[in-house]
């Protein structure tokens, strides 16, 4: 007596190698399907918008770099008066040992006329905030010195505008993106409003416009000469 597995095995052998006649024209139909261009994943204007955003992003980064370097230069200027205080003082500041290492306080005042102030000798017991290095010597003197420097915090004020400008740049970038989106939606864009309060953007527009006018004039002159 046979079981189902042997029946099915025999059927499988017969069926697996069976081949049918293919109707004519089937390959042409498949070829047509293969020739069909795949549907775009996203419309062309999205690609254009992406390119524009990329270009804007790159130019924004490019502009931001020189600003950072000027900021570093300004910071260096801030350090210079401190060094001057140490070198101009004819008497070096003496400290007995590490235990009596003195701390100096930087107390910014609003006195603009005296950006760097004098060295004052005092003997406070617990002063805080160390920022000025004091020269240590072997000399055995119990004298305790405190260096008090009055510095006009000009630098802090200078940093602030740089920061806000950068922030403004970012917001401008956001605005530009917003306007581009509007333009893509078919709404009118107010470029005038966009350039307000942003000199770099305005200057760029003027440069482009001037170049265009000059080129036009040159072309006219050349044509007249000929």
């Amino acid at each position: 007596m046979k079981n189902w597995n042997s029946v099915e095995e025999k059927w499988r052998e017969q069926l697996l190698n069976k081949s049918e006649d293919i109707p004519e024209g089937m390959w042409s139909r498949i070829e047509e399907r293969l020739e069909e261009k795949p549907t775009r994943r996203f419309p062309i204007y999205w690609a254009a918008a992406a390119m524009l955003l990329l270009a804007l992003g790159l130019s924004w980064n490019w502009n931001a770099t020189p600003e950072e370097t000027t900021q570093v230069a300004k910071t260096e200027k801030m350090v210079a008066p401190l060094e001057k205080v140490e070198t101009t003082d004819s008497k070096p500041l003496n400290v007995l040992n590490k235990a009596t290492f003195q701390k100096a306080s930087l107390q910014p005042t609003l006195d603009v006329a005296t950006p760097v102030a004098s060295v004052i000798e005092e003997a406070p017991k617990e002063e805080t905030i160390a920022s000025v290095p004091v020269i240590e010597k072997q000399e055995e003197s119990q004298e305790i010195l405190t260096v008090r420097l009055d510095i006009n915090p000009v630098v802090e004020e200078e940093i602030k505008p740089a920061f806000t400008q950068q922030k403004r740049r970012k917001s401008l970038f956001g605005k530009i993106v917003g306007e581009i989106r509007q333009a893509l939606d078919g709404e009118p864009v107010n470029w005038q409003k966009l350039k307000e309060g942003n000199a770099a953007f305005e200057n760029s527009i003027h440069t482009v416009a001037n170049t265009y006018v000059k080129t036009e004039e040159n072309v006219k002159r050349t044509l007249q000469i000929q």
Partner: protein
């Protein structure tokens, strides 16, 4: 179809050319496999035009997914799997769902001896006469060699359902021997 196609010395070269969208290579592959694959599809879908449409969709898929073939198993087996999947999708699309219970009173452990003597056309006729759901499970298990676990995954049914449907399909095949007077 009668246009003479370049011959490819090996299957690997034929596949590589197909991957490069070489139309002649694709046509050569189609000519080589289409007959067998139409036979596979027709075992699942009895309607000829539906089966041909399914075959066409299957080949479009073969050419578009050719990069996924790693070369591990038989290439024909890979194409066959695509065709079977395409046929199952077509069955689902047409909502030709799985069968209702049919009372069967045959000794399933001992199939009729006549079943062993059947020719290929009679076998096809018997299988084609099964209700779509039984036919699908019988084809997947008995002819393609899928396990009940694989069938359960493919058809989103339980393994138990797959087993019981196979038993009923076998019983029906015996029953049809008499009905179809084979």
């Amino acid at each position: 179809m009668n246009k003479r196609l370049p011959s490819f010395p090996s299957e690997t070269e034929l596949i590589a050319a197909c991957r490069n969208n070489n139309r002649q290579a694709q046509q050569a592959l189609f000519q080589k496999m289409a007959g067998k694959m139409l036979s596979v599809v027709k075992r699942y879908i009895t309607n000829t035009s539906e089966a041909e449409d399914t075959l066409m969709e299957g080949f479009v898929k073969v050419f578009s997914k050719l990069d996924q073939y790693q070369g591990g198993g038989s290439f024909e087996g890979w194409i066959r799997k695509i065709m079977v999947n395409e046929a199952l999708m077509s069955i689902r699309k047409n909502k030709d769902r799985y069968p209702m219970d049919i009372d069967v009173a045959f000794d399933l452990a001992h199939p009729d001896e006549t079943l062993m003597q059947l020719g290929i056309q009679e076998i096809e006729q018997l299988i084609a006469a099964l209700p779509s759901g039984y036919r699908t499970i019988f084809n997947l298990y008995a002819i393609e060699g899928y396990s009940h676990a694989e069938i359960a995954l493919l058809l989103d049914i339980s393994e138990g359902t797959s087993k019981s449907q196979l038993s009923r399909a076998r019983a029906l095949l015996q029953n049809q021997l008499i009905t179809l007077q084979l």
